[in-house]
Symmetry: C2
Subunit: 522 residues, 2 copies
Amino acid sequence: MQDFPLTLDRFLDHAAKWHPQAEVVTARGDGGVDRVGYAGLRERAVRISGVLADAGVRFGDRVATLAWNTQAHVEAWYAIMGMGAVCHTLNPRLTAEQLAGMLDQSQARILIVCGDLLPLALAVAGRTGIVPRVLVIDGALPEEAIATPRVDALDALVAESEAEDAPWGGFDERTPAGLCFTSGTTGPPKGVTYTHRSSFLHTLRTLHTDVMAISGRDSVLVAVPMFHANAWGLPFAAPASGAKLVLPGRSNDGASLARLILSEGVTVAVGVPTVWLGLVEHLEAIGGDLPTLRRIIVGGAPMAPALMERLEARLGVTVQTSWGMTELSPSGTVAVPEDPDRSPAASGKPAIGVDLLLTDANGTPLPEQRGVEGHLRVRGAAVVSRYFGQETDATDASGWFPTGDLARIDERGNLFITGRAKDLIKSGGEWINPAEIEACIGALPQISQAAVIGRPDAKWGERPILLVELREKESISDEALLGALRGRVASWWIPDAVIRLPTMPLAATGKIDKVQLRRQHG
Amino acid sequence: MQDFPLTLDRFLDHAAKWHPQAEVVTARGDGGVDRVGYAGLRERAVRISGVLADAGVRFGDRVATLAWNTQAHVEAWYAIMGMGAVCHTLNPRLTAEQLAGMLDQSQARILIVCGDLLPLALAVAGRTGIVPRVLVIDGALPEEAIATPRVDALDALVAESEAEDAPWGGFDERTPAGLCFTSGTTGPPKGVTYTHRSSFLHTLRTLHTDVMAISGRDSVLVAVPMFHANAWGLPFAAPASGAKLVLPGRSNDGASLARLILSEGVTVAVGVPTVWLGLVEHLEAIGGDLPTLRRIIVGGAPMAPALMERLEARLGVTVQTSWGMTELSPSGTVAVPEDPDRSPAASGKPAIGVDLLLTDANGTPLPEQRGVEGHLRVRGAAVVSRYFGQETDATDASGWFPTGDLARIDERGNLFITGRAKDLIKSGGEWINPAEIEACIGALPQISQAAVIGRPDAKWGERPILLVELREKESISDEALLGALRGRVASWWIPDAVIRLPTMPLAATGKIDKVQLRRQHG
């Protein structure tokens, strides 16, 4: 059989040749959009590869990006990866200090940044030992930056470039392609290195009819950031299948997304639950329908049953739940599209290329793998084996990666994430699982968001407290809240106190920030 | 990222763990069926690996099969491939002489054979230099065979086996897994070696929503033989997705298939056009519906527009056309499911992992790749690079494999196979393409099958003649037949003669046997 290295540049080659007119559409922020076909996008990506090579980037070098979901960011991804360099995505919601620490680890000497993030980029650059060169995309270079040494507009360099033979593909499929740091709530953040092969195979899984089922007839709205775990791989899956790729820029508010879904005929929308909460609240407030939208794929946080029902009823869509993490490239399991037995608590079953194992706290496989709760381990073609720059494996002796999640798998093989091992609360020597309490409370129609954390307690060691954010114009008494738990969780699991928050604090990835909650209320 | 070799044993491991109850169902021939879940099937396959190892089969050895589409044949496939041996599938519709020649090439010293094919197997064994050991599946060993040296019932060996550590997986993904000879109408047949990697990647492509879209909710009837080009990869795709695999044994007649589709809730049926002609004729004769059937995937031969219309109208299905060949593992392109613009003449566009190129007769790429006819070349992860045992590559200097097909690609990227280069007729120094004439004639409602071949002609070198098989109870005059061509092909393309055949001769793969037609009528 022919040699056919699984490298990511092929996705753009394929799209340019077989879906040249299929578009990448970016919301500009002024209500307008920018469009480019895959043929045009590939041409630009290759030219940027040439510019980066001119700028001294060599095979295997890291190049960082600090950017929103835009066409220029997609071009930068493919330019970097297509030449065999490593795209190190940075999260603009982190501090300059945190980002500088990551750059010091990756040693990226070029930082590609969206115009509006230039001040943050310069703050980061000033704090690193390497002082990267900054290339600005998406927006004109501000007056004051033009004189700044080592800051350039990428487009100006592309226009000037005379590079003829831009490097593009033709290398080993196990070449690193991407680098993403986990949000790391404890200890220094850890980097996960994706290879061309792992992201290629992850993409093929995404295209399966029982996974994300992305088709050339789809218009896919990617409301999960490209700086976070490959935007769930959709900037790969869209060109690989010829789907239209719709990018919201930096605006994920309900009004912006509704406008984009309508104007671009979006059929599949992908993002964390809170984003869709914003969308449905917008539509409930102003009215209107999204007739082309058929599916919403959610992940990254538990799905509240009330929200799932509301989305399906109000938008006429099917919600597909999923589970993943940065270390999994990031998709682990996705519920089958249109599954009549779908449930907000279930995350689907693994497709070929992913395998799951439940163990005890020490990593010993449970004798029974169905219907019991255990610590979840995972193995597969797109699962981390060792964190960036570390000397020891992240996997156990049998090659399984411990996720830190608690989970149950039902008789049909569906995964239910039941909590995070480190979120467990130890009360009177016994474990309380906050996720189970949160699921009960989250199911109440008055609740927008709910979190349970442990508070030190002289007698019991720790006791749970409940924090809630109510939906607009709703009210509910503490008694009613806690009463909803009676008979559904053990009586000693019922929280000692209820705290009401106007807004639940969210971490950079959109999940509830339990570290902050513990600091302020624990 | 973790090491995760793409080996085919993983499909059965995956199905056994995540779809243990999903079934492989085999029609027995007496109207009944045999069933096994994937967990049970895997257990049997591993035990057979142990038996083969006991019998002296080593990593890399070839083991031949001469069998119909049955559970036992699937078990043999996985047993052979799972231990790192090479499964050499033999076509029972070939002669003992032809098969012996293939065995002499592959040097398979074990031949696994369905009970009813034992006489053929013994005839083959007697003609080879290697005298393979014969293991019988599917049916009791006949009296006279029990005393035959080197003939055993495989099940008896499995029952006796005390093998504890059957070999299973754990080897390099580029290990050869399968061997299939092309029907080779000229010259000695050529063998194509599939590797684990190539068939794994071919399977992932098959699961795409824009390709065969096989889902765990499907029940897939495989009416294309397992001895021919991996049965289009469906014995891999079904366990990889958890789909039910429905096998018709040796009976592909309309009545048997209709019964099986009804009893097993078949949703997707796969095979050459003539098989579905038999199905629709059966239903038209006896009445009845197939309510679960949603799609029929056809390939291996041109699809007559009248048959496609008839299938869709009578069965309420969508027909998906496709194009492939043994050298492509075998799928090249598949029309998108439910494509509103589908056409019997189109074969879909390439999915990621396959690329197409049109050249002139010398292999020089055509300057324009859309809307013009050329010689089709193909490149991809599951495309042959060199035939079995040969010293030179089957590809050109740029790695493209010349298919021998003539094709056109439209503006949307859809492939239209317009003929075989070697079927072209040279008349008065100009080329006539029989496929275009056949398509016009095949569209007539009276026609079941049509073929055009060249006949030597003193004046013009060659002249075309038309051979037709009419549909039952239909009639049409020669004048009307040829009249249908006027205005649709050049006047000098119109055949000089019409020959009516009671039955069109078919080659072993179900295609019209033009070699025989040329011998008898050319």
